[in-house]
Structures are given as structure tokens and as C-alpha cells.
């Protein structure tokens, strides 16, 4: 199924040209070779004349010419070898066969010598050229292998389709010495060209129909093939294991480049390589997305269960108590009635605060919260938080200890108030109704600390850091305590984090839990000196 299998027709189309082109590549017609050949033959003649002077037989002289022809055949190939054989026989006949310095009719017998010499030259030159071609081919092969290796290595380190295509485009440009067009196939099947500027060039290089044809038929087209052969670029599909991820087009500077099927094959191999890299990348991304999806799903499930339980409970209570009031209008005494109404009010306020928290968390998660920071007076923020929970806090002693010289806080007032409300609500939920709560503030070095401490049972051992996790709920709940969604403290942490501060929880030595907010002192709170001045 590989792309290589689909070039059959193209292979035939260029097969005849192959041999001659291969020859031409390593043995260009060069008149200098013929001159050198002639000189070699002359040299052979000179050596022959020395041998002749030593009264050696003609066979030895022929051997010398034969050696010359062999040398020429190995060095310069067929043409010069033939030339050497012909010229050699003529020289031999003219100088070394009686009558000397002339061609005689009896010389016909030297046709045998000539024939052997010619055949020998051709044989040697053919063998030599085959050897040469093999050497060249293996060098070429090695070169391609190293190019493919480079491409594999570079692509394997990258992620993101766009990056992959860009790098591949650069590498292909180097390999084929030409213009590269990358078409990426979107999930919906439409083609996107990688580089917008390349668009025009690509349209010139190929009528878009060539690209469309490639996309439809999943086969190469354009330059060097028999389809859309008028195009100046070759377009090859990038076929992965699952689908065709795109099309690569090359417009080589040398239009004959793709006459060599090796080059076509190389391009197709590269295209497969790119396709597989992109697929690998996409699978990786999909795997990551799947993981995120699973986590989101888990979060959604716990949210749903929290909402369905903790939001429906107060609503159910409201519905039941209110309908009892409606159904028995005259029956219940005023004390019971008041109790019922009180329940409705408390439960609805509780539900409203839980909705506040859910919305707050959703906003914080969506990153939609902007910190409108201002210089705020802590006392004021505490006052607002306490007044919001005045009803819930009745029966508890609330102690607020803020030093008069406590600096202004560089915080978003509404969000900080939310933190205080949530911390206080936590106290209300998890400590006995008559126990106290203390809010205190101190400064040390570069940080301001605000502590909300209660006199309840404290946190379960080991849960000190977990209480700030979403949907965490302490296992121990006071007898009549209300359970929350488990978002309150998570919101506190998100808000304090956004302020660059820290929130932590611990059990106090004397009993009860303490939540500490630590905020970095903002630079030069502008009027802190004036607080003192005003007093």
C-alpha cells in the first residue's frame, strides 16, 4: 500500500531514459579524454618501438597496446576505448608490421588483432562503467539514507502539525533544491496551504486541478509523471496509516530532477515519513485531550453529585416546610410557625450562598475574574463579611483584633470579602453553634497575616492541606451541621493565589482550627501613615 507501489506507470515512462542518463552522469562526452587516449596510444607505440628494437615478437607489442586499451576503458569508458582500439591497431599495423611505415594488403590478417582489442576494450569499459554506476548508486543511496535519517530525527523531536510541516518543508527544499508547497488536509477534508505566501507560486506551479487530482486519487501527479505532466512541480500525497494527511509539492530548480525514479521514490518516502510524523503527533494530542476529558468528566461528576445533593437538600427542605404551612394554615401554633418560616429563610439563604460559590468557582476557573485591586481597610472588609453572616453568627461570640496601625491591603475588595465569608461560613458549618470565632491580624516582615480561628473540633488529622481541594469535605460534621458543596475553601485558595498570597489551615494547640491568610505587603501602601495621623 505504500506510495512506492503506485509509481509503476511513471517508472515505465522514464525507464528508457534511465541508462543513458546514468552514463551521461558519470561520463560526459569530453574531447580531452580522446586527446589523452591518443597520447596513451602514442606512448604505447613508443614503448612498442623499444620492444621492437629488442627484437621481441609482435605478440608482445600487441600486449602493450592491449594494456593501453584496458587502461583507457577503465578510465574513460566505452567511446575512448573504441577509439583506442582502432587507433592502436592502425599504429601497430603502420609501425610494427612489415612492410613498415605503410598499410599492406596482407595486413588484413590483423583484423583478428583489431577485433580482439576492440572486444576487449568494450568488455573492460562496460565492466568498469557498471562498477562505476554501482559505486555511484551506493553513494547516492547512502546520501539519501542520511537525508532520510536527518528528517526522521528532526521530525521526531517536534510536536504540532504546523511545526512538523514547516521543518519538513525546509528539509525537502534542501534535499531537492527547489520550491516546496505543503498542503495540509483539515479534518473536514479541505486543503490548507501551509504558507500563505506560497499560495500564488503554488498556483502557478500547478493548475489546482493537479492538486485536486492527487487528493482524489491518492497518487502522485505533475512533473515527471504522465498525469498533469505540464505542471512545473511534482505533487505527492502524504499517506499515513489512517488517512492522507496532505499533499507535498516540489518545484525543482532542475526540471529533469524527477526524471530519475530514485528521486520520485525518495520524495514519496519523505512524504510517508511526514505523514507518519503528523499522525504520531495527532495521536499524542488526542491522547492528551482524552485524558483531560476524563479529568473534566470526573470533576463534572463530583460537581453534579455535590449539586444534586447539597443544593437540592435545602430546596427540598424549603418546599416541604413551606407546603406544610400552606396545608395546615390554622393548626400550628405561632411558635411552630415561626420555626418553620425560620427554616425556610435559613435554607434559602444557604442555597443562595452555594450558588454564589458555584458561580464564583466557575468564573475563577474560566479565568474570567479580573482583580480590581484597591487599597482596602481590613476592618471594613471584615465588617462587611460579618454583616452578611449576621444572622448565621447569632449566638456566637465574634472577636476581632486588628491593630490600629495595620496597613492597608492591596486586594480586590469583593473577592477578599468572599474569602472571609467562606471562612466564616466554614466555621458556622463545622463548629458547635455556641462556640466562638476570632479574627486577628498581624504583620511580620514583608507579609500580613489574617487568621480566622474557631473553637470547634479542629480538622481531621492529615487533612490540613486537603481541605482546600475542590469537593473535599471533612468527614466529621457536627450533629446538626450543614454540609456544603466543598467549594468554599477551594475558592478561598484560588482567590488568595490570584493575589500572590498563601492560605493554610492548621489545628491550634488549644483546640479548634485556624485558617491563616498570608499576603505579601504591597509596595508603599500610600496612606498607612495617615491612618495614624487621623487618629
Amino acid at each position: 500500500m505504500s506510495a512506492n507501489g503506485q509509481v509503476g506507470t511513471q517508472l515505465k515512462a522514464v525507464a528508457e531514459r534511465r541508462a543513458s542518463q546514468a552514463m551521461r552522469r558519470w561520463r560526459p562526452a569530453n574531447y580531452r579524454h580522446y586527446v589523452i587516449t591518443a597520447l596513451i596510444v602514442v606512448l604505447c607505440g613508443l614503448i612498442g618501438s623499444v620492444t621492437h628494437a629488442l627484437k621481441l615478437t609482435e605478440a608482445n607489442i600487441v600486449m602493450i597496446f592491449l594494456a593501453g586499451v584496458a587502461f583507457v576503458a577503465v578510465r574513460f569508458g566505452q567511446g575512448p576505448a573504441i577509439f583506442a582500439a582502432v587507433f592502436g591497431v592502425l599504429v601497430f599495423d603502420y609501425f610494427f608490421v612489415a612492410p613498415f611505415m605503410s598499410f599492406a594488403p596482407s595486413d588484413a590478417q590483423y583484423f583478428v588483432t583489431f577485433g580482439v582489442m576492440l572486444g576487449y576494450g568494450l568488455l573492460v569499459s562496460t565492466l568498469a562503467s557498471r562498477l562505476h554506476n554501482q559505486l555511484h548508486a551506493s553513494q547516492e543511496q547512502e546520501h539519501r539514507t542520511s537525508q532520510l535519517y536527518t528528517m526522521t530525527r528532526e521530525l521526531s523531536t517536534l510536536s504540532g502539525s504546523h511545526n512538523l510541516l514547516q521543518t519538513a518543508s525546509r528539509l525537502l527544499g534542501d534535499i531537492f533544491a527547489g520550491e516546496v508547497f505543503m498542503f495540509y488536509r483539515e479534518a473536514d477534508g479541505t486543503l490548507q496551504i501551509l504558507d500563505r505566501e506560497a499560495m500564488q507560486a503554488a498556483e502557478q506551479a500547478a493548475d489546482p486541478s493537479a492538486v485536486q487530482w492527487v487528493l482524489e486519487n491518492n497518487r502522485s501527479a505533475g512533473l515527471g509523471t504522465d498525469r498533469h505532466a505540464t505542471a512545473t512541480a511534482l505533487f505527492v500525497p502524504m499517506i499515513g496509516s489512517l488517512r492522507t494527511v496532505g499533499i507535498v509539492g516540489i518545484q525543482p530548480q532542475d526540471p529533469a530532477c524527477f526524471d530519475d525514479p530514485e528521486n520520485v521514490r525518495m520524495l514519496e518516502t519523505c512524504a510517508s515519513l511526514i505523514a507518519l510524523s503528523i499522525e504520531r503527533d495527532q495521536l499524542f494530542v488526542e491522547a492528551q485531550q482524552a485524558q483531560v476529558l476524563v479529568q473534566t468528566e470526573q470533576l463534572r461528576n463530583s460537581l453534579l453529585s455535590a449539586v444534586s445533593h447539597d443544593l437540592r437538600t435545602p430546596l427540598a427542605t424549603i418546599a416541604v416546610t413551606a407546603s406544610s404551612l400552606l396545608e395546615n394554615p390554622g393548626e400550628s401554633n405561632s411558635a411552630t410557625k415561626e420555626e418553620i418560616v425560620q427554616t425556610v429563610v435559613d435554607e434559602s439563604r444557604r442555597a443562595a450562598r452555594q450558588v454564589d460559590n458555584l458561580l464564583g468557582m466557575a468564573r475563577l476557573n474560566a479565568g474570567a475574574v479580573v482583580l480590581h485591586r484597591d487599597w482596602e481597610v481590613l476592618e471594613e472588609l471584615v465588617g462587611v463579611a460579618l454583616s452578611r453572616l449576621r444572622r448565621e453568627l447569632t449566638g456566637r461570640t465574634v472577636q476581632v483584633r486588628i491593630p490600629d496601625n495595620f496597613p492597608l491591603l492591596w486586594v480586590a475588595g469583593d473577592l477578599f470579602e468572599h474569602v472571609l465569608v467562606n471562612l466564616l461560613e466554614n466555621v458556622i458549618r463545622y463548629t458547635p453553634a455556641d462556640s466562638g470565632v476570632a479574627i486577628s491580624a498581624t504583620t511580620s516582615g514583608a507579609a500580613s497575616q489574617i487568621v480566622v480561628a474557631d473553637q470547634g473540633p479542629g480538622l481531621p488529622a492529615g487533612s490540613e492541606s486537603k481541605v482546600f481541594d475542590k469537593f473535599f469535605r471533612a468527614g466529621t460534621v457536627v450533629a446538626d451541621g450543614q454540609r456544603g458543596i466543598g467549594l468554599g475553601l477551594a475558592i478561598c485558595r484560588a482567590i488568595i493565589d490570584a493575589h500572590g498570597g498563601r492560605i493554610s489551615a492548621e489545628n491550634q494547640p488549644g483546640g479548634g482550627a485556624a485558617f491563616t491568610i498570608e499576603l505579601p505587603r504591597a509596595n508603599e501602601s500610600p496612606e498607612s501613615d495617615q491612618v495614624n495621623h487621623v487618629q
Binding site: D374, W375, V377, E379, G383, I402, E527, V534
Partner: protein, 237 residues
């Protein structure tokens, strides 16, 4: 709830609210408290009704189906002199500030308590009456706090406290508008004048100082109530 206004004619309250249950509740509660009522379920209806009936006070819900509550407010305010109290769900502070800037006299966050609603209506009606008659009491008293504007003296539990000129100015402005929320911007301009550009923290610092002088527990203020993100209100009993 007992001291509802008495005849000759009870004040006419216009309720602009699209939600049926809330309208039903306001109707039964306010008519029970002795007010006359007109109801509008949309912005367009409200504008028409206001022109026909000239209400003494308007309760305007900001979340209306046909037009933005703020637009209704602007259109009403362009000719209507009587108080407008805005009702809204707990939301961004900017909404409240915008409403006050557009001429709302006060705002209430849903859910509100009925006592709170009646108090706000009374405050708004009284301020309107004072403005019409031009008569204003120069002595303010609430629980243990007594402010004598004419004599420029302030007492807490019959003990005089000494305020700096700016603190007194701040307090006197709040007294003038007692029970109503005043935005940071409004207070800054009243105290320091429109030309001086002071930032809200300036105000917060002076307010903190003022609280320490007149509040028994500054962190749980009885008089100088913070409206988070909007401004301050001098609470009445």
C-alpha cells in the same frame, strides 16, 4: 410595619418587576403596609405607567425582559422627580454604581428582608418630602449617636467626641443623606470638592478614623455601614 403613612392619601408605589412571584409578594406585602400600588412587568409599560400615574416612589428591577433596566432608569429620571429605588440580584458592583450615577436614590440586593425594604422606602420618601419643603432637621439622633449639625458637635452616649474638620464634614454629608447609600465618588467630591482628585482609599482611611471615634466596635459598625465596592451608608435604627 405599623407606622405606615396615614391618610389623606397613602403614597403610590410603582413596582417594575417582570418576575410574577416577586411582584405578587411585593403587592401583598406593600398593600398590607398601607401603600397604594401600580405594577408594570416591562420597561415600556413602566415608562407609560409612570407618565400616567406619577408615582410617589418607584421600585425598579434591573433585569427586565424588553429593555435594559439602566435605560429605563435614565428615561424615567429625565423627567420623574420622585425617588427611584433599584432592585437587583447580587451581582457586579459596577451595576449598582451605574444605577446610582444614573439618578437612582438607593438600591436593594435581592434577597432583601421586608424590614429593610420598608426602611428604604421610608427613607426615600422622607428625603423627597424634605427636599420639597426645604425643611431639614439640624439634629440627627440614632441609638447612642447624636449629631448636631448647626452646633457642629457630635455625641456618643452623651459624651462629646472631637472630630477633625474633614471627619465632621464626612459625617455631616452622611447625616444629610442618612439611610441612603453614597458612592465613593459622591463622598469624595462632597468632602474635597470636585477639583481635588482623591482616591477611594483616602476616604477609607478617614472612614476608619471616624469609625474608631463613634463606633463601639469598628469591625462590626452600627452606624457607618460599608456597601462593599459602592460606598457608605449611615444606618438608621
Amino acid at each position: 410595619m405599623s407606622n405606615a403613612p396615614t391618610p389623606p392619601l397613602a403614597p403610590l408605589v410603582m413596582i417594575v418587576e417582570d418576575e410574577g412571584p416577586m411582584r405578587r409578594f411585593l403587592r401583598s406585602f406593600l398593600s398590607g403596609s398601607g401603600y397604594r400600588l401600580q405594577e408594570a412587568a416591562s420597561g415600556a409599560a413602566a415608562l407609560q405607567l409612570a407618565a400616567e400615574k406619577a408615582p410617589d416612589i418607584t421600585l425598579l428591577d434591573l433585569g427586565l425582559p424588553d429593555m435594559d433596566g439602566q435605560d429605563v432608569l435614565i428615561k424615567l429620571r429625565s423627567w420623574l422627580k420622585t425617588p427611584i429605588v433599584v432592585l437587583s440580584v447580587r451581582d457586579q458592583d459596577t451595576q449598582k454604581i451605574t444605577a446610582l450615577d444614573h439618578g437612582a436614590d438607593d438600591y436593594l440586593i435581592k434577597p432583601f428582608s421586608t424590614g429593610e425594604l420598608l426602611a428604604r422606602i421610608r427613607v426615600a420618601l422622607r428625603h423627597a418630602a424634605e427636599q420639597r419643603s426645604g425643611v431639614e432637621s439640624s439634629v440627627f439622633e440614632s441609638a447612642d449617636l447624636k449629631v448636631d449639625l448647626a452646633a457642629r458637635r457630635v455625641f456618643v452616649r452623651q459624651t462629646e467626641v472631637h472630630l477633625t474638620p474633614i471627619e465632621f464634614k464626612l459625617l455631616s454629608i452622611l447625616v444629610h443623606h442618612c439611610g441612603r447609600v453614597l458612592t465613593h465618588q459622591h463622598l469624595l467630591q462632597e468632602v474635597w470638592g470636585p477639583k481635588r482628585s482623591q482616591s477611594p482609599q483616602h476616604l477609607r482611611v478617614f472612614m476608619a478614623g471616624l469609625r474608631r471615634k463613634i463606633e463601639p466596635d469598628p469591625a462590626q459598625p452600627k452606624y457607618l455601614v460599608t456597601e462593599q465596592g459602592v460606598g457608605y451608608r449611615l444606618a438608621m435604627e
